[in-house]
């Protein structure tokens, strides 16, 4: 249990002042409610107490200990969030014990504490359950229990009842207050609901725009609001306010309402004594509660009424008098407020003077604000930086060592004569590249790759699109999902394992491919063993292996087209080809572009199937007469069979630039011709 003291606490986010200097004190064991509209700074104030935010300036004390720079868990606060923050994957017991476990509390102590609190809140039977099985009210209790288990010095609640229905809210209101009366834990409770504030609080602090408007008991705040904001905030329907000026004539203060200055109202002494000294030079606001308006005439009351005509009626006494004539304004049970018309322009120190129990601020203390400000910012930032880099470090190292490092090194060895066996490397400029350009096999590999890409990319894209359109509609008897999976399956199979079967399929004597050709009366082919058919055979394999991936991507693109668009087209009488041409195709633009880029990048780097289908025992390395020697195969052979690392690097660099260049060209093309939603 603790007394909580704020001394000139300020909070800024960037250049935005969230809290103007706040000074207030919450007494030990008090139920203190902070109320205000959204954006008033009430939640920030609570988070400052919890330690989830650090003040930009000022000091926060628990009793005599200054805590504003302490990390949250050292402050011994219990907090209940609006959404309860109960972990859905843990049992109620684990939720309640999680914090204690983290503090390495002995197991039996934990169990004992949880049981005690569960008994107190009557949730013992819920302990083994999952949060998903609980009702709103039960979750609320679990959230309370979880905070209480830690035996907090200060209990913080951030709009804890706003997720409950109205009836349950009333019930929990009473219950939380009763719980507080039993445990007497200092409680700070944030709400935007004036009823909650009025019914639960020992004292209320009203906030607006980062400032304290008033602190007081519910009765004080209701009867003597110190600002127009407070006056309007409490009560439903809210208080009526009339503006006007005060003029003193023959020792009687006269109120000249702004809407009807020529019909002044004499103020009784009970009211006029409340007026500030310089009241004649200010606009004065007079407010009265609707429930104080009663039909006139009534005895015992002093009151006055402003009728639209300016007609005035008064009476005196304890109760109220007045007449309500349509939109007439009635001032009852003499209440006056002095306030400048714009709260933000209040004179400095204004909010402080409004507190009913102002905190004694030791003015002899020098202002140490700027120092604490800079320190807190750097400490938090430092912590975040350390953690941020710590957490990305493992993956960062992998990326730097095995990807970016090699990428840089590539640019280096391509211009050097470098060997894995020699310790020295010599700069040779562009010699690796000129050597390369004089090698017929290099040009052959480029041609092969170009042929391969130009054939495979359009074929895969079109086939994938066709398959996607075929599979698009809902779930048939065997489910679109099942067919989808079958078409996608080849893509996840290991290349070598499935290459084995394709080598057999392409077998000139017994393979399935020639059986099929025979069926259609087409002369058989030598497939992988033929100069002209080796690369197309690899293309067929690649088509089979990868088209499922692009089909799935197209299906995702189709799924993102709203059904309503297609229904609208159908209503307009568009059918088949027209729908495709005018609606689907333009809307599929971005995904088609993506598929083409991806397919190009992938096919330019095809290696495994070229290697296994034609690189091994079949026609030597790279197919018969190098007909399947693609760029990646040539790089592999140059580097790892002939150990010409520099030459292979030069080749890699060219491939690198080619792929990057193609991607950029495609991007440029797409920016101009593809319709992005």
């Amino acid at each position: 249990m603790a007394r909580v003291t704020f001394r000139r606490v300020m909070k800024t986010f960037g250049s935005h002042d969230v809290l103007s200097p706040l000074s207030f004190e919450v007494a030990d064991g008090e139920f203190f409610v902070i109320v205000g509209p959204s954006g008033s700074g009430k939640s920030t104030t609570l988070r400052l107490v919890a330690g989830l935010e650090r003040p930009s300036q000022g000091e926060i004390y628990f009793d005599t200990e200054r805590v504003d720079q302490w990390p949250p868990h050292t402050r011994d606060v219990g907090m209940v969030f609006q959404n309860y923050a109960i972990y859905p994957h843990m049992s109620v017991f684990s939720n309640m014990s999680f914090g204690l476990e983290a503090q390495r509390t002995p197991k039996h102590t934990i169990a004992q504490r949880v049981q005690q609190v569960a008994a107190l809140l009557e949730i013992e039977q819920l302990l083994p359950k999952r949060p998903g099985e609980l009702s709103g009210g039960q979750k609320q209790r679990v959230a309370l229990g979880r905070a209480l288990v830690r035996n907090p010095r200060v209990f913080l609640m951030d709009e804890p009842l706003s997720n409950l229905d109205a009836q349950l809210r009333d019930h929990m209101r009473t219950e939380i207050r009763l719980l507080h009366d039993r445990l007497k834990i200092t409680t700070i409770y944030v709400t935007h609901d004036q009823t909650e504030a009025m019914t639960m609080a020992d004292r209320i602090m009203v906030m607006d725009q980062g400032r304290i408007q008033q602190i007081g008991t519910p009765a004080e705040i209701y009867a003597h609001p110190s600002t127009i904001f407070v006056a309007k905030f409490f009560g439903s329907p809210s208080m009526n306010i009339v503006s006007g000026r005060i003029a003193v004539d023959k020792n009687v203060a006269w109120f000249h309402p702004a809407h009807s200055p020529e019909t002044p109202i004499p103020l009784p002494t009970s009211v006029s004594t409340l007026l500030p000294e310089d009241s004649t030079s200010h606009t004065i606001y007079m407010g009265f509660r609707p429930e104080d308006i009663v039909p006139k005439p009534l005895a015992n009351a002093f009151a006055f009424a402003f009728l639209p005509t300016g007609e005035l009626s008064t009476s005196s006494g304890d109760a109220t008098v007045g007449a309500m004539v349509r939109d007439s304004l009635v001032c009852g049970r003499g209440w006056l407020a002095h306030h400048c018309s714009r709260p933000r322009r209040c004179p400095p120190g204004g909010p402080d003077t409004m507190m009913s129990r102002p905190v004694s601020i030791d003015s002899s203390q020098p202002d140490s604000r700027p120092k604490s400000h800079s320190r807190s910012v750097t400490r938090q930032q430092l912590r975040d930086t350390v953690w941020g880099y710590g957490l990305i470090l493992p993956s960062l190292l992998v990326f730097l060592i095995f990807f970016y490092g090699p990428a840089l090194f590539l640019a280096y060895i391509a211009f050097f004569h470098w060997s894995i066996f020699a310790s020295q490397s010599t700069f040779v400029g562009l010699k690796n590249f000129t050597t390369l350009l004089h090698q017929p096999i290099f040009w052959q590999s480029l041609l092969n790759t170009a042929y391969y890409v130009v054939a495979v990319v359009p074929a895969t894209t079109l086939l994938a699109l066709a398959l996607a359109l075929l599979l698009r509609e809902g779930m048939g008897r065997f489910g679109g999902g099942f067919s989808r999976a079958l078409i996608f399956l080849p893509h996840v199979t290991p290349v070598v394992a499935t290459s084995i079967i394709w080598v057999w399929i392409f077998n000139p004597q017994f393979g399935l491919a020639n059986v099929v050709l025979h069926f259609f009366h087409v002369p058989p082919s030598n497939w992988l063993e033929s100069v002209h058919w080796a690369l197309p055979s690899v293309m067929i394999y690649t088509l089979w292996h990868s088209v499922g991936l692009y089909t799935i991507l197209f299906l995702a693109g189709l799924a993102s087209i709203p059904r309503s668009v297609l229904e609208a087209a159908a209503t307009d009488g568009a059918r088949g080809w027209r729908v495709f041409k005018r609606i689907l195709w333009p809307l599929l633009g971005p995904i088609t572009f993506f598929v083409i880029v991806l397919a190009t990048i992938n096919t330019m780097q095809t290696f495994s199937q070229v290697y296994t289908l034609t690189g091994g025992p079949h026609g030597g390395a790279g197919g018969p007469a190098f007909s399947t020697t693609t760029d990646s195969l040539l790089i592999y052979q140059t580097a790892f069979l002939y150990l010409h690392f520099s030459l292979a690097s030069a080749m890699s660099l060219i491939l690198f630039v080619l792929i990057l260049g193609l991607t950029l060209i495609q991007k440029w093309f797409a920016d101009r011709f593809v319709f992005y939603r």
């Binding site: 919890a50 868990h73 219990g78 907090m79 969030f81 923050a85 914090g99 983290a102 930032q381 930086t385 957490l391 990305i392 493992p394 993956s395 960062l396 992998v398 990326f399 990807f403 970016y404 490092g405 990428a407 590539l410 894995i420 398959l467 075929l470 065997f478 999902g481 067919s483 989808r484 079958l486 078409i487 399956l489 996840v492 199979t493 290991p494 290349v495 070598v496 394992a497 499935t498 084995i500 079967i501 057999w504 399935l512 059986v515 089979w544 991936l549 799935i552 995702a556 799924a559 087209i561 309503s564 780097q605 296994t612 025992p617 790089i635 592999y636 790892f640 890699s652 792929i659 990057l660």
Partner: protein
């Protein structure tokens, strides 16, 4: 119609089963044999009379280690990118995008050189460590962590739960779909590795199954039943996993739901 087209795609996979378990010489039969006979003798032979078990275990070990590391590094980096505001966050984001754009084939030579200098050639580490971080894994975890309510982390701070404990016991269990997707995609990629071990290893002791299969293919070209059996061994874990999780894998690849919505 739809199903017929789809079945066409799995004929080659089906044929592996036919050849592996068919009678001796079924490969050379015309017209082709269509029905598997479920003779498992060649499969047993491959598993018992060759080093095949070793290759299977190599693949299992490499894949498992890679999956564990990828999930760990992705969860950590994903958490940092999602939850911790630190200078360099955006830079790291772009650095990851950059890795995604690097063409793998063009990097193999310098990667080999780096492994050479790190004395990692021909080691299990060479099969695992370079793949211990995954760009898509990090983005996936980041995306899921961003969906976790802020108050979950704040209450952990109030209760004194350390960042690592929070990640392990709260954030990761709440990001189960991200874990599942990362595990599945890493499994497929890692199990199917071929070119990398081909270049980075030469010792049969640490070869994974795909590489062994390619050597086997060259050595035993005529023994079709054994060859197909070996291929089936390499294929079946993928088929099994895919069979049970195809819905999730397909969705993970598509990056979202495939069913039309309004």
């Amino acid at each position: 119609m739809r199903l017929a087209v789809a079945l066409l795609f799995i004929i080659p996979v089906y044929w592996i089963l036919v050849l592996a378990t068919g009678y001796h010489g079924a490969v050379y039969h015309l017209p082709p044999v269509w029905v598997p006979l479920f003779h498992w003798a060649p499969m047993v032979y491959v598993l018992t009379h060759t080093h095949w078990m070793r290759y299977v275990l190599n693949s299992v070990g490499i894949t498992t280690a890679t999956i564990v590391l990828v999930v760990a590094t992705s969860a950590l980096a994903g958490y940092a990118l999602a939850e911790i505001p630190f200078k360099g966050q955006t830079a790291y984001f772009f650095l990851i995008l950059g890795v995604m754009m690097l063409p793998q084939q063009a990097l193999l030579v310098p990667q080999y050189v780096v492994l050479f200098h790190l004395h990692m050639l021909n080691t299990y580490a060479a099969m695992v460590v370079p793949f211990a971080a995954s760009t898509s894994g990090i983005f996936l975890f980041r995306q899921f962590f961003k969906k976790i309510p802020v108050s979950f982390g704040e209450i952990a701070r109030i209760e004194g739960v350390s960042t690592l404990t929070y990640i392990r016991r709260v954030a990761v269990p709440l990001a189960k779909p991200a874990v599942a997707t990362t595990v599945l995609l890493t499994f497929i990629a890692s199990w199917n590795q071929f070119q990398w071990p081909l270049i980075m290893t030469n010792s049969p002791q640490i070869q994974p199954i795909e590489l062994a299969l390619s050597h086997y293919m060259q050595a035993y070209e005529a023994n079709w039943r054994e060859l197909a059996s070996a291929a089936l061994i390499a294929l079946s874990p993928i088929l099994l996993v895919f069979g049970f999780t195809q819905r999730y894998i397909v969705q993970a690849v598509a990056g979202g739901d495939l069913n039309a919505k309004d």
